[in-house]
Symmetry: C3
Subunit: 212 residues, 3 copies
């Protein structure tokens, strides 16, 4: 092999290595953005009571846990849970704004975790209106090339009456869905505002590397 040939071969090997590293970066960015799209799209479906669309986004064995209402396991049970929520009909607002993602793709590129905040405005004409917030700690899974929600876990941090404001008190968490029993009890025992609770973080501090 000539010197020139050897040098070309080395260049190609270096390129291969570089391309492998780039592939990992590009795939992680693609996954990050796909998950942002996924969770945002989920929110738009929830707003309008499109429960089947929302349920379809879960992995077959995906789980759902909201407030202190226990864990629902598998897409069918998630669907049941969602259909037990209030319908979108004249005089309702059920907006769940999906905000402030912190997304981490696992090294194998097949699973991921995300923290989000849902900023909530719900209202019934002639009834109640409420501001609220949930912090989500979710997990995602790549199945047949498509990202799905494998775990949706919403920690409700506060609800307050629109007419009174949070300085006048919070609304206690609803701990049950009428007519439904969860598959497993709640994973965390907590109460929303005015009590205090810090939803756990799936990540360590990105700078110090220390877990809180």
């Amino acid at each position: 092999m000539s010197e020139e040939d050897a040098s070309l071969r080395e260049t190609v090997l270096a390129l291969q290595k570089e391309v492998r590293a780039l592939r990992a970066k590009a795939t992680a960015a693609e996954a990050h953005l796909a998950i942002c799209n996924l969770q945002a799209a989920y929110g738009y479906y929830v707003d309008k009571g499109l429960w089947d669309e929302a349920a379809d986004m879960f992995a077959p064995d995906g789980t759902l846990e909201i407030a202190g209402r226990g864990v629902y396991i598998g897409q069918d049970r998630v669907r049941q849970y969602l259909h037990a929520l209030p319908p979108y009909e004249r005089g309702t607002i059920f907006n769940h704004m999906q905000l402030q993602p912190v997304i981490h793709i696992d090294p194998d590129g097949q699973t991921a975790k995300g923290r989000w905040r849902a900023f909530i405005l719900i209202a019934w004409l002639g009834g109640e209106a409420r501001w609220g917030e949930a912090v989500y700690e979710n997990a995602y899974q790549l199945i047949d090339g498509v990202w799905r929600i494998s775990k949706l876990h919403a920690f409700i941090t506060f609800y307050c009456e629109y007419d009174r404001g949070p300085n006048h008190g919070g609304v206690p968490m609803v701990r049950k869905i009428d007519g439904l029993q969860p598959d497993q009890p709640s994973t965390h025992d907590y109460e929303a505002f005015p009590e205090i609770f810090i939803p756990p973080f799936h990540y360590a501090n990105p700078v110090s590397g220390r877990s809180w």
Copy 2:
């Protein structure tokens, strides 16, 4: 050609293919993030009544449609429309928070679509204050290497008086800009809260692949 040479040639061809695929991924991620920047920047201009800055972001033949006020076609008409909105002056808040993007870059990388939500707080000191929401279904175009808004379509989903709250009723959509006539009538006939309306989705369900 030696066996070694043949194998090197194959490696290079495989790399070429891989790099082409990576280029598509990287370009899509770059476009996605540029469009997020673009729409977010648009929102900051709108907040402060910087109408020329906002109009500059449109494609030459870009269109604007807000609420039931018809379609304005071309950057000049968009500029006219925007300048007919209230000025930013002492005692005003005109905040249009740009949230929850669902972005899809078309396969050719030259056009894109995005769903967003504007969460709105407007106020006039000594006058009215309102919370509101628009769902945008926008389109974007890459022109001379720069992403522009080619269609901005805001579906108003609710406005309510800050002082009363949405449980006490919604504010009907304003269907006209004083002194202006649109180039085309509204593309959709709908009313905001308390009526019901689901803004159309530019995308199918990302998991099931079914259109709602």
Copy 3:
């Protein structure tokens, strides 16, 4: 060198160039998303008064400037400032939603700038509740492979009492932290709503290229 060899060599050189360009794109996307994660994570810490976690995110010589309270220089001073804020305790909400990023990575990939909006809801049970907004113009620095906040500058644009609404007036900016003196005076002289102020932009209009 045979013609085939020469052509292979050219192909490899072209690939090298292409990969270099891709590396720049992929690194910029990675940085953009890392900074989104960083600022979002900062917000979750602030919500819950986790001041040491928030301070850890700053560069050693990072700066903090909020409202008209002057500039605090260096991570230790930032930490001091943050610890002077109200604690997270029963009956408090201190939510700082981190929204609407406009991120620009500098060409060397070592520094970046970002505009954000914090949409704020704070409340003390039996006391006051307020809606507010800050526009951030922040800077970031890559140190040992990790993005940090090198400048956090929050321009408060409004605060209003939840019980009264912004149409009934704004709350003047707090210009001092009890018991603390800044290292440098404020860089900008302004007042929040109902006065007018447009926080400066770190970027030119992305389409026209003109600075406002």
